[in-house]
Symmetry: D2
Subunit: 287 residues, 4 copies
């Protein structure tokens, strides 16, 4: 192997039809790619939507974005295909938002340092000053943007200044402020949130208190993309833990912390590795 190889991946979506796999893999073969992962999904092979993720090694000389996009231009136009090519070289930059609780923030920082997150943590933003020393320990810039009722718009403007152009994805790591629709529209990049319940159960505030009141025997957490509608965006990942009648709300929160940080970490990781496609307010995730 004399030439350097570059790890690339493409995400594809279009109307399903025969021949897509053959055509796409031929183009990749023409570029000198060696496919290492390939997965596909069709909502219906006859009239549905088709989704595909292919990971591969490319010779450096063919790995340029312009070259790869050109190779797919014809098929993309002909089949009205959404086509997204990335390389592992260009790491996604993450902006983490946190409030008082530190478990999700701590987990993301540690997982990143341990090499499990394929991205860069660009900055941490919080409406509390509490995590400055933690961010310093992990050598990540920390911005304290206090929230007050009167100055919410000003604060959001400040936050947008911090993250626009410096981040590719925003992660709400138990950030307890609701983002305004204007903020979401202005950021214009994916936002991942962790909700502390097994959605769609217990949408909204105080889910553990309500789970306690209902007497459920299992609690959970849900990572989802943020949309304008509260806790209603496409679900990325969920997980659960068994509890019993002896669990107080506080004990549930303690268990919940462990579920939340695991679920959020997995969701962020899959997003960074371009494993997620969104369709019809749902996610297709290629493992």
């Amino acid at each position: 192997m004399s030439e350097t190889l570059v790890q690339g991946r493409i995400l594809i979506s279009c109307k399903d039809r025969p021949g897509i796999v053959a055509r796409v893999s031929s183009i990749l073969f023409g570029l000198g790619a060696n496919i290492t992962e390939s997965a596909q999904h069709s909502t219906d092979p006859f009239k549905g939507s088709f989704f595909m993720r292919i990971a591969f090694y490319l010779p450096e000389s063919s790995s340029d974005e312009v070259k790869v996009n050109a190779a797919f231009r014809e098929i993309a136009a002909e089949w009205a295909m959404n086509f997204h090519y990335t390389t592992a070289r260009k790491k996604k930059r993450i902006a983490i938002f946190a409030s008082k609780e530190d478990h999700c923030l701590q987990e993301l920082l540690w997982q990143h340092r341990s090499g499990a997150l394929d991205g860069e943590i660009a900055l941490v933003v919080s409406n509390h000053p509490d995590h400055a020393e933690l961010a310093r320990h992990f050598a990540v810039p920390y911005h304290h943007t206090p929230i007050s009722k009167d100055a919410r718009t000003a604060t959001e403007a400040l936050q947008l200044d911090l993250i626009k152009g410096t981040s590719d994805v925003m992660v709400l790591a138990r950030y307890m402020q609701i983002l305004s629709p204007e903020f979401i529209a202005s950021y214009d990049r994916p936002i991942i949130n962790i909700h502390h319940s097994f959605l769609p159960a217990f949408v909204g505030a105080k889910p553990y208190e309500r789970a306690f009141a209902r007497g459920v025997k299992i609690i959970g957490a849900t990572a989802h993309y943020v949309t304008g509608e509260l806790d209603a965006g496409p679900i990325i990942e969920q997980d659960v833990q068994r509890i019993h009648h002896g669990y107080t709300v506080d004990a549930m929160k303690k268990v919940g912390r462990d579920i939340e940080r695991q679920v959020l970490t997995r969701a962020v990781q899959w997003h960074l590795e371009d494993r997620i496609l969104r369709h019809d307010n749902k996610t297709i995730i290629f493992h």
Copy 2:
């Protein structure tokens, strides 16, 4: 051990106060009991409610219901205690209700024959004739009570005739008819239902279709006691299975069948073994 021993158990609930365990265990010691299991729960040790289950062996001569109740009469009155004594000798009689689908019915019949259910299956009632041969295979009486819009009251009257006095608990094994409040009031015994979702998500009809539409990553089932409010009674047991974007509604139903029959079986088993106390629309379950 010259005298025959009888397996007994008591369920207790009262206002919490110091000394309950000491007093109860002294009375049992006085009856010659050897305690084999003991579990307790308090919603708050200072001003809450106290719950306890004790299982024990009693010499046959002390095991009579009248004798045991007499021994506890004083404390029960003094502390306004709910007290419930049963012996393993007196098996609870189960009335199973089923509709078209047979997985929960089949499971209960098989688990009973294999010795895993500590009760007797008194009869099977269905609004379909389909399971007659299955019931015959397991040697259980089968009653086909067709449902028509016009004759619902008459059918319920017929069903009550079949199960009142012949059963101690009614199990809705994917019985797809809603019982009238009059029916529930008239039966006056516990009714256990299996709902094909992870409650409180997807209360009501077509939960798998709605889980598919929401794009959840985990599906579940919930066994609960039936109250007047649909799918809102005390939850006994829940369990879940992971799914992914490739699951159609039918694939989810297939996975769901396995969750449903396991969850329902566990709930019925715990009920038969007097492991469940109800409090505040929740259950306390002593394993």
Copy 3:
């Protein structure tokens, strides 16, 4: 869609190299296939082994085994490729072997009747007469082949007579006799066994007794292909359940029954759907 479509699938394995996906999907496109599932695995993209499963719809006129094999002949020869084409029309025939315990047998019979197993249960063979009535209930031929120390060879000969040519896979559904190497060689088709432990823990006899003695907190079951070496064949599926110090050996066996029948059913189902490839005493399973 004027022509009838046939569901087909191919399993492929060969040395990894660039261009396999492109070539295979082009051939399928040439046959008029519409790919519905596709999954691949490589032990190493540069010098490893490559495995692939593709499921598709074929026009009936192209679905003939001779035609499909011919289309792949060239590539199969050139790349020393193992190539296996089947259609959903040709159901695999299953020979179930059982001993005293009926939970796995009962489960396979019920799952088959409910439509969850994509094969035909050809016959049940047992060294006990106990399950004749169960087999009759499910309308499956039952053969009682008693085992005696002296006549083991004769019994195995009788069993081979029953299953050779009438079955495509043999399932040991808690069959407690060890098959002779001669039997395994003579049958010459895959044999799936369920072992009642989380292999490689507790290889051999009495796994629950040994799990109890060791004080494990989780028990499991393992479905694997049978090879000459006891409990050492390629693992297909495993699952586990949490237990605690209060579980007697009997309680563990009761829980174990539920794990065993689920694990075995999944393994059989995947085998019937041609989802499993064997390599280096391991399995690659395409879900």
Copy 4:
């Protein structure tokens, strides 16, 4: 509630016999205790061993160790009872040992700071200098005790100097050195280890490599008390995660890290809360 209340708990073991619960709870009632948790286990109610854990509130005036021990002296002598009383006031001091990998160390430090561990982390000892800054971040003393083949005895002597008298339990948080029998005997306090496999599968070195070679479908971790025999001490806790054929050894290690730190944390927590009794190389754990 005019008098201050102290949280206490007792662990009891003795030969099983009728009347233990009555007698023990009477003594506690006499001390003014309000029982909040009570759990018991018997290996056999007629001739087995009996174990019990009771948690309670005591008026401060009765909570003195001398007083409580005196109250139980008679029964302890009469029934050859092991009796262990502790209060929540006296936190156990933990000595954590770590090597290169930091995930278990990081988790224990973070869980402690977040309030989930009912003890004090007295010091961290490592044969590597790498975690000094991490320990500083959590304000815990860090001791680097390098290991060399020649000076093993000297190093162990140094380590014993550090932890004897300053710690009540030693936690091997992926400490990759084998402790000598002399060290274990000299420390004379409980030692908890996390083994990176689902014991008794893959005892000894390189468990993930061996799990990969065997082709298991689930991997796990095991926390256990350390005894003279490698990986053979009483199991405290185990947990598992599903993997598939696509997992390399490195991917398994990454998943394994998450299992290991959760399992170890739970084991340490239960030990700190006096929830664990040892018997016959097994653990009885009262949740």
